[in-house]
Structure formats: C-alpha cells, structure tokens
Amino acid sequence: MSFWPAMARAFLWALLLSLGVLVIYPLLWMALNGFRSNSQIFDTPFGLPDSWALTHYAAAWAATRGFLASSLLVTLVSTVTTVAISAWTAYGLTRTPMPGQPLFVAFILGGMMLSPTVALVPLVRMLQGLGIYDTQGALILLYTAFRVPFTTFLIRAYMLDLPRDLDEAATMDGASPGTIFRRIILPLCSPILISCIVLHILFAWNEYLFAMIFTNSPGVQTLPVGLSSMLSKQGTNFATLFAAMTISALPIVILFFLTQRYFIRGLTEGIGK
C-alpha cells in the first residue's frame, strides 16, 4: 500500500531535482567559463577550471563598466518614475471621483495589449524629433510609458481590495486626497509596490529591443546591448565574454533572492484574487 505513494514521492523529487540541474548547470557553466582559457573552453567543457584567477573577470569588468553605469541609471530612474506615476494613477482611478473614470481605466490598462515592436518605426522619428535619440532619457521615457499600464494594473487591483472606510475617516478629519494618498494608502500598498519595483527592475535591466534601436553610443548603451556587441568587439576572447555575462546576470539574481519573499507576497495579495 505504501509502495506506490513512496514511488510517486521519489519520482516527484527526481523530477524537481533534474529540472533544478537543468536550470542551474548552464548558468554554472557560464560562470566557470569566465575562469577558463579560450582553448580550455573548447577542449574541456565539463569539469572545473585549472585556475581561479580573476583576470577575465577583471577584463570583463573594465569592458562592461560603462554599460553597467548606464543600465543602473536607466533602471533606477525609470523604476522611480514608473512606480510613482502608476501608484498616483491607480489611486486616482480607484479612490477619487473622476469624470469618465471607466474610460480612463480602459485607456491606460489597454496599453498593456499594445506591442512595442509595432511602435518601433514611428518612435524612431518621434525621439529624433524630440532630440533625445541616443540618450538614456529616451530609454527612461519609453520604459516608463510602456510599463505604466501593467504597473497601474497591479497596483489598482491591490487598491481596489483596500477597505473604503479608511479614506472616509480621513476625509472626515479634513485630509486632502493628496494627503490620504501619501499618508494612508501608499504605506498600505507597500507589498504590491515592492513587487512592482522588482518586476520593473527585472524588465529595465534586461530590456533589449528599445535599447538596441534607440541608443548607439557606447556611453549610452545598456548592458544587454553592450553584451551583444561584445561578441563582435572582443572577437575571440570568449572567457571575457562569459565573465561579462556573469557580471551582468549576478546583480539581478542576487536582488531576486533578497526580495523574493516580499515579491511573492505582493503578487499573491495583488493578482491572485
């Protein structure tokens, strides 16, 4: 009787474990290749590197520092603008009287359905017209505009579930909507705000399409674009390329591990209704 459940359990664990290896091993291989020499990468793809010298990592750091700085700037600023604008908008849409409110909900959330690829051709000329083509400003503007719908969607869903009597009590005490937003609602929303911040950082740190098309100076390009051009620039220096890939992936993986508890909590309360 207890044979089959035990078998099933063993099978499930084997499944989880092998999936885990499938996920982790390629990433480990990537990080280890940053320690190998070119010929070792070709000759001995398995096993540990001969030395743990950080020379390739140092070279990769020097080559990607500029891209890292650019990525950092774009990610940080666009996270602040996106989450701030979305929270502000979500509050207005859920908790203030507003003429034509359903229309605005449809308009803003409808933006989620639209593909950035379709907007590509006209955006080139628009950004050139605005004189911000090939600047970090262009990416910040686009990342904000294209992520406000989704972020607003998440925050709005969360705010809809917050009890109404909070605002009413505060209004009675003479608080303005701005004060209620800042003092009461925003702190209550912190779980979903954290989820939104993490999701936006994931997006902005990794975005490639816009970054590739709207930037082309080395000082402006973000990591994903810089990495893809490294293959041609570094030529045959594979170890440095692998090291650079690892350097680019590491911060975001660490960030996820540090925040995952809050991140999942916000999502659970936000969208799992």
Partner: protein, 428 residues
C-alpha cells in the same frame, strides 16, 4: 497627445537651413577656424587612438579648430549613419564603404563631389584604384584611407609537417585539403553563422569564373541579369571546397570568431580572412606565432574564364557632408589624415590597416604579412568589391541567404541563382 505637435515643431526647428555645398572647389581658401565633426569606424579599443592622435595633432597645429570625434565600430556605424541622416545631422566628415552604401549617400546628395580636388596633385598621392572605387557616375566622392582584401591565412608549421606547398591553383588547394584531412587536421576553419563569411569566398571565386565586364554590369541594378553560366560554376566549386576542405554544413552553426580561434590555436591549417585581421590571427598571445603565419590569394582554377589575377577587396574611406558649413576645412583635415607620415602610422601595428596613400607604408615598422598582402593588392589586376556591399541590398540579401543555404546543403547552385535573379528583378 499634446506632445506630438511640439515634437514636430522641434524637428522642423532643429533642421539646419544652411545652404548645401554639392561640389568642392580645390581653389577655395581654408580658414582654420570653427568646429569639425568627424564620424569614424575606428571605435574599437585597438583602433580608437588613431583618430584621437590625428585630431590632437591637427588642433595643436591649428588652435582655432576644434574636432569632435564620433567613433563607431563595424556594427554600429550603419545605425549611427542612418540616425544622423534621418535627423539631418550628418557630421562634416564621415566614414563610408564603397559600393551601394556610398552610392546611396551620393544618390541622396549627402556627399560632396570631390572630383576636381581628387584630380589635383594631392589626389595623385592616393592609390588610383582606391580612388576609383569611390566613383559614381564618373564623379569621385570619397577619400580612401586604407585598403582591405581577402587572403587565405595558413599555419606554416602545419603545412610543412604535411609536406604541402602553397597551392598555385584551386585544384592544388583541394588536393592539399585531402592530404590534411587524411592526417586528421581540419584544412580550412570556416564559421559561417554570419553569412557574409561564405559570401566572401563566392566573391573571390566569381572574379575567377565570370568576366569582369559581366560582373560590373550585374552589380548595377539597372543592367543586372545574373545569367552568366560562370555563377553556377563558382557555386559548384564552392560546394566542392566545402566538402573537401571544411567541416561541411556544420559551419553554419559556428561563429567566425570560433573558426579564427582554430587557426590561432593551431587546430586548423587555414582560415580565410581580411588583411586587417592578420594581426588578430597570430600574435604574441596565440599558439600560432606571427612568424609562423603565412598568406596567399585564394587561387584560381586552371581554366578560369574570368580574371585569374583578380583579388577581392575594397578600400574604405571618408566623405564630406553636403551640409557641412566648412567644406575647405573638412577637406584640409582629410589631406592631413592622408599625409605619408600618418599613412605609415596607420599601416603599422597596433592599427595594421594598410594605408591607401602612395608611400604610406613603411615595411620596417609593419607586420611582414601585411607588407606582403599590400604588395599583392598593388599587383592585383582587378579588385572585386564585397558582394554584400556592392549589390543592391535586396540582391545582397539573396546572395547572403543563398550562399549560406548552399553551404548548409539545403539549396542547389541553380536555386541560389534563381533567388539572386528574382531579387535583381525586384530591385530594378
């Protein structure tokens, strides 16, 4: 949406209304004052200092001039040029390839006609074939800076060990491959993941199989037919080369950098490369040392219907923008960039870009293989340009895709040519 009309307004306001200079006057006086924007293709770490040195020297000599460098690399220069074109912000001096790329800039009246200047005494200091490569409709538009051509680089130790001489004919090359393969060595490393790699073989071989006049008529979209039987001959020869000298269809999954690495690591006997890559294939830090590196022109078959002495390659150079407010100054800077001294600087390591200036190369400071390659370029009867830049973009794409499919074994020579002919028809 209020932003939109504002954007449009800004676009209109930022468009310069300055008069255009279409033809450069060799007698125009140079005033050494003002700002000069120069867009180069030397953005990589190795090449970047060249123009920085030049600009610093020029500004030191002419304190009234400031030079602003926009240094791009091979990949980014196309996108940057298009951006600057679209926003009407072309720099005074800008990089251009020969062939269709330069032709489009000329057609769009973006490049100043330099015929009179290049026909003057200064123009005679530049290699004539290189100047001619920038001629469109009988007029000259570009100042060539350096020459580039394709050679087979090989490992002297591997050749010696296998008892192989440098092949004189295409047939000899195939036989050499058989010998190497029998010894378990990859004869030619090819990474054709980017299809221009295979297309460079096609270009050189076409010069051997198709008469020059036919080729040049076919390169012009207006007269292109691509019906000469030599095209199919070339493609069939390429298939045979691939079968006997390379890993075969697998090459389509290999990056050219990996293939180059095989020559550098001493694992392959040959790698087909540009002269400007010589310093990459063999250096102090590679297994293959510079003195062990040799090169030869991909040889013609015994019975070649085209030109057996032709070599594939093209110069690369610079143009002056018609929107420039100081064409004489821009021209003066280009003259400075093409003095014999600066030519020698460019030809020597670490740059290793063979200068297009007559006397702009000093064998004493250069990698001997580059010196030899330059000699081969000077002796070539005809420089056939890269197929992917000389053709209309649509035809170029058909060539790129077709040759890759041929090497992958999914298309026949006839099918490739059908695709090229259809694209040529479409491009008319």
């Amino acid at each position: 949406m209020r932003l939109i009309p504002l954007a449009a307004l800004l676009a209109v306001l930022s468009t310069p209304l300055a008069a255009e200079t279409l033809v450069a006057d060799p007698a125009a006086p140079v005033t050494h004052e003002g700002n000069l924007r120069v867009m180069t293709k030397f953005g990589s770490e190795r090449l970047r200092p060249y123009f920085e040195t030049l600009a610093a020297a020029y500004m030191a000599a002419h304190p009234g001039v400031t030079i602003e460098l926009i240094q791009e690399d091979d990949d980014s220069v196309k996108a940057k040029t298009k951006t600057l074109l679209a926003s009407n912000a072309m720099p005074d001096v800008f990089f251009s390839w020969t062939g269709t790329w330069g032709g489009n800039l000329v057609r769009g009246q973006r490049a100043v006609d330099l015929t009179e200047v290049l026909d003057s005494d200064w123009g005679k200091t530049l290699a004539p074939s290189a100047v001619d490569a920038f001629a469109y409709g009988g007029k000259k538009y570009g100042v060539p800076l350096y020459l580039d051509a394709k050679f087979m680089g090989y490992s002297k130790p591997i050749f010696a060990e296998a008892g192989i001489e440098v092949p004189e004919t295409f047939e000899d090359l195939l036989a050499a491959c058989d010998t190497l393969k029998a010894k378990g060595i990859t004869p030619i490393a090819v990474g054709n993941k980017s299809p221009w790699v295979g297309l460079h073989y096609v270009g050189q071989m076409l010069a051997h199989d198709v008469p020059r006049a036919v080729l040049e008529a076919d390169f012009d979209p207006a007269t292109a037919t691509y019906t000469d039987p030599g095209y199919v001959t070339t493609l069939n020869r390429l298939s045979e080369l691939a079968a006997r000298c390379t890993v075969g269809p697998e090459m389509n999954g290999i990056a050219y950098q990996s293939a180059l690495q095989m020559l550098s690591d001493g694992k392959a006997a040959m790698y087909y490369q540009e002269i400007i890559e010589f310093d990459n294939s063999a250096s102090a830090s590679t297994v293959l040392k510079p003195e062990e590196f040799g090169h030869f022109i991909l040889p013609a078959p015994k019975e070649a219907k085209g030109d057996p002495m032709a070599l594939e390659g093209a110069p690369e150079g610079y143009m002056i923008s018609t929107a420039s407010e100081n064409v004489p100054l821009a021209l003066d800077f280009l003259k400075f960039a093409t003095t014999p001294e600066n030519g020698k600087l460019l030809s020597a390591p670490p740059y290793g870009q063979p200068s297009a200036v007559v006397g702009g190369a000093d064998p004493a400071t250069m990698n001997p293989s580059v010196v030899g390659g330059l000699q081969d370029i000077a002796e070539a009867s005809y420089l056939i340009q890269w197929l992917d830049t000389v053709n209309h973009p649509k035809v170029a794409t058909a060539w790129l895709n077709g040759s890759q499919a041929l090497l992958g074994g999914t298309m026949t020579a006839e099918e490739v040519m059908e695709g090229v002919r259809a694209a040529a028809e479409d491009a008319k």
